[in-house]
Amino acid sequence: MKGAPHTGEAMLPDGHLVEPQAGDYEHAKAAPTDPHWYKRAVFYEVLVRAFHDHDGNGAGDLAGLTRKLDYLEWLGIDCLWLPPFYASPLRDGGYDISDFRAVLPEFGTVEDFVVLLDEAHKRGIRVITDLVMNHTSDQHPWFQESRRDPEGPYGDFYVWNDKDTGYPDARVIFVDTETSNWTYDPVRRQFYWHRFFSHQPDLNYDNFEVGEAMLDVLRFWLDLGIDGFRLDAVPYLFEEEGTNCENLPRTHEFLKRCRKVIDDEYPGRVLLAEANQWPADVVEYFGDPAAGGDEAHMAFHFPLMPRIFMAVRRESRFPISEILAQTPPIPSGAQWGIFLRNHDELTLEMVTDEERDYMYSEYVKDPRMRANIGIRRRLAPLLDNDRNQLELFTALLLSLPGSPVLYYGDEIGMGDNIWLGDRDSVRTPMQWTPDRNAGFSSCDPGRIYLPVIMDPVYGYQAVNVEAQSTSSQSLLNWTRRMIQVRHQHSAFGLGDFSELSSSNPSVLAYRRSHVSNHDAGDDLVICVNNLSRFPQPVELDLGEHAGGVPVELTGGVHFPPIGELPYLLTLPGHGFYWFQIVPPNTGREP
């Protein structure tokens, strides 16, 4: 970390490390005030390394991402989610953080990040990033001090013990690489606790100072102007004998402490909890419903994604209907994050016995579904590049309850490179143009961090932003249009969800309804999706809205008014409709 400010540049007389302070940097201008922006937002997960290379060294950087903000604004993105860009030895994709207050040099500097924030905010785009609270890299100066000086200020920052027998009920999560949650440190001559890799020691949250230090990390980035954090691996913060050391009450207490800092000092910023668990358990991370939620503002709904794939494969709505029926209500201030693809995935360990049986019978025995759950693929290749299905899946993502998270490149239907292996197959450079290196970098092609996709179907010469932005029929322009429509209707982000019954098992229909405090803001949207590749009729019971007129949202066409009888629609294979229901004779265009 030579040349850049970093943790541990100097040490105070009491043994504390000197850490960079937010006051050392310029601060980005804040995003506009909007307490519930995250409920309406369309998120976009972007890997800094993969998006745009500004300095021409073959890997993407913060400055490159900044230069592509115009594109993201044009697309209609409201918030970027950046996986970790902190200093790291990169033994776990950057989730092994060796300095919470420094940027990985290949990505740029803290100053570059502030510029990114500032430019994003100018365009109405917010930025959140991952923060790993549970552990650090073993290269973090805190850990180095902790092993060196057990009596020093960091001596109690990690979970040390003379024996490796504590907390026997906590499972080993990475069973492929780790045999125990304890590892012996020859320097300190004690064992340290780690729920993940042995090079990622767990922080000791029993030590109040650790919590304070982590809150100061939050403040550091929040002061610079960041809009929120996705908190990684939150269920594991505390340990207690006689428990499985997951989801402990004190973990929730600590999250409430984090939330209080946000609410008191940084209103409008958000916390997104990563708890890869069943929805009924995840809702605990939203906190007290009576307070509208007093822990995380958002959490991912993990099981929905595989259920969407399953439903379309089975041509049956039940995989989706069931999981939504099992999803408990969430506090008024909370919101799900939903996705089709991201770098996280559902694992069979997280589910109930009954659900495991279901997943096993429906999923694991089916080679295609197994591929989709295990190996990381992009959306387009998973759907055989079928435009109808790509549109149906995107329409579901943009209309089911929750804030949608797009994965970079999926908006143009990018492919993957399975020969790069599990992790990297979906991390290839963003395809901007048909030029050298797909317009991602001006470097020598041999120097690029991963080769660009070059096959005839998904290769950058066929699939790129430049070509698609000029074609009105492209997936990119279609996606942009659908995001626009979503933004025009508060029901998608803020509305209630209720499934509409129909006797056709291949058609999934639901109502999104938002009743606003002021009269003009009410919004009622009906979404009808044909999960089958064949044309289907459906009769919907819309009796409640008798007299209303469905107006199709992409074209504004008025459909016949709703009567007392079931409303008949026919859908083409994998077709869908979004309707706004308007009162008769208003002629209001969407």
Binding site: E315, A325, Y358, N504, S506
Partner: protein, 468 residues
């Protein structure tokens, strides 16, 4: 105001005229000589007025069935109810009140209040509180009943043909609900009464499974997907390999497996609630005799069945000599894919009325659960062969159907065996029930849908050439 009884007498002829148009009327095809009022009861109001009526339909000595009507009376019938008009009575219009939400709401009110009107008992099941604000609409086109859905919450089934004796549907729903069975729609209320001192059931209110699809729609969606996969294969250059139903996206086997579990659970609960015992002496002979009798009847009408006569009689006679106890109990009685609903919480069995054409005493008699299993196995075969796709190559089409049928029948039995004894352990009896059902289907298709006759005939060929 004219009395309900006089009103009914006044419009009896008009009812005779509209009866043959009613889908639920069982006497279609026979002339209606007359409609004789049995009873009429005012349930509500003067404008509009609601009258509950029971009539006897005279279609000759052998055919005197009773039916219930809900009649609305208004001096001014709105256009929207025009299609429900039955007759004029004085200056008033009499119409079928099931189409009038204002009047059907009265039924819910009466049940919620637990009112008895002239022997008509409206009641809720123990512990149930009804939301009486729900508006109703009639649903679907059922063979023998009329159902009203209230809001998205309740469904009221009105038994149109009034049979002497309490409805097995209501009886079995109550028995299963008492055990907390998850595989039924919870019973919530009833309309009962008596005719000539014999109890009768007029209606049953249950929870409405608002987002359910029936098993037939689910199964045919799966078959459609498999056929499409094979149509793709057919057009491909090079050697043709049939698509395996296990490999295509629309595979139904895990649903069939869960369905098997649900049916077995219902059977087990019925045995717990209403008893199960070894079959009495003579049961198997009676079963075999019954099968032979049905075969006699169908053989007389359908010559295409004769080549199979010997094999069928042998399979039926094999039942007589079965050893070991055969347990008998109450069963569903008319189980097929159209009688099961997939809800968001799993499979639900509906309509425990039994076969509508069979006398009540027979429908409520304990019998083997294998009857239900056989009904479902036959239904899988129908679902596989029903869609008119891929007929260019009938042999290929049949092979695809058979692959689907076999896979899903096996999955169903596997699922069943997880909650009750494996039905395949009683292969001889199961086989005979399947063949008996297929013989019935041959008769039915011959008279009603000759195009479908090959489905049960092919099944009989297949079942009689594979030993149980």
């Amino acid at each position: 105001m004219i009395s309900a009884t006089d009103l009914l007498a006044d419009i009896a002829d008009a009812l005779a005229a509209v009866l043959p148009e009613q889908r639920w009327f069982a006497g279609k095809g026979r002339p209606v000589h007359g409609v004789i009022p049995v009873r009429a009861t005012d349930l509500a109001g003067a404008e509009p007025r609601l009258v509950h009526a029971v009539v006897e339909v005279d279609q000759g000595e052998q055919h005197r069935d009773r039916y219930q009507f809900l009649l609305g009376v208004r001096s001014d019938l709105p256009d929207i109810l025009g299609h429900a008009w039955v007759a004029a009575c004085g200056d008033q219009a009499v119409y079928q009140a099931i189409h009038d939400p204002e009047l059907t709401a009265v039924l819910l009110d009466l049940m919620a209040q637990g009112t008895t009107v002239e022997g008509l008992r409206f009641a809720v099941e123990p512990g149930v509180t009804l939301d009486t604000e729900q508006r109703s609409r009639p649903v679907g086109a059922e063979q023998s009943n009329t159902s009203l859905v209230y809001g998205q919450t309740y469904i009221l089934k009105l038994f149109r043909k009034v049979a002497a004796g309490r409805s097995p549907d209501l009886e079995l729903h109550r028995a299963l609900a008492s055990l907390g069975c998850k595989h039924i729609a919870a019973p919530l209320g009833s309309i009962e009464g008596a005719l000539e001192s014999v109890p009768v059931t007029y209606g049953m209110l249950t929870e409405y499974l608002r987002n359910a699809a029936d098993g037939w729609a689910m199964a045919t969606a799966s078959v459609r997907d498999l056929l499409a996969a094979n149509l793709l294969v057919e057009g491909a250059p090079g050697p043709v390999e049939q698509a395996d139903p296990a490999d295509v996206g629309g595979d139904f086997a895990s649903e069939a497996h869960r369905l098997g579990q649900a049916v077995a659970t219902v059977h087990t609960d019925l045995a717990t609630a209403l008893g199960s015992a070894p079959a009495p002496a003579g049961y198997l002979d009676a079963v075999a005799d019954d099968m032979h009798r049905r075969l006699d009847g169908v053989l007389a009408q359908v010559p295409e069945l004769s080549p199979h006569e010997d094999a069928l009689r042998a399979a039926f006679d094999a039942v007589r000599g079965l050893e070991g106890p055969v347990p008998v109990q109450r069963v569903h009685g008319d189980l097929h894919l159209g009688q099961v609903l997939r809800s968001v919480t799993g499979w639900v069995l509906i309509d425990f009325e039994g076969e509508p054409m069979v006398p009540l005493a027979t429908r409520v008699a304990p019998t083997s659960t294998l009857r239900d299993v056989a009904g479902m196995l036959r239904s899988f075969d129908y679902a596989a062969n029903y869609l008119p796709l891929g007929d260019d190559d009938p042999e290929q089409r049949a092979a695809v159907a058979l692959a689907w049928t076999t896979r899903n029948q096996d999955a169903f039995c596997d699922g069943y065996a997880q909650a009750a004894p494996d039905p395949r352990k009683h292969a001889v009896l199961l086989h005979a029930f399947e063949l008996d059902k297929a013989v019935y289907e041959v008769g039915y298709e011959h008279s009603n849908r000759p195009l479908w006759l090959p489905i049960p005939l092919a099944a009989i060929t297949r079942l009689t050439t594979t030993s149980p």
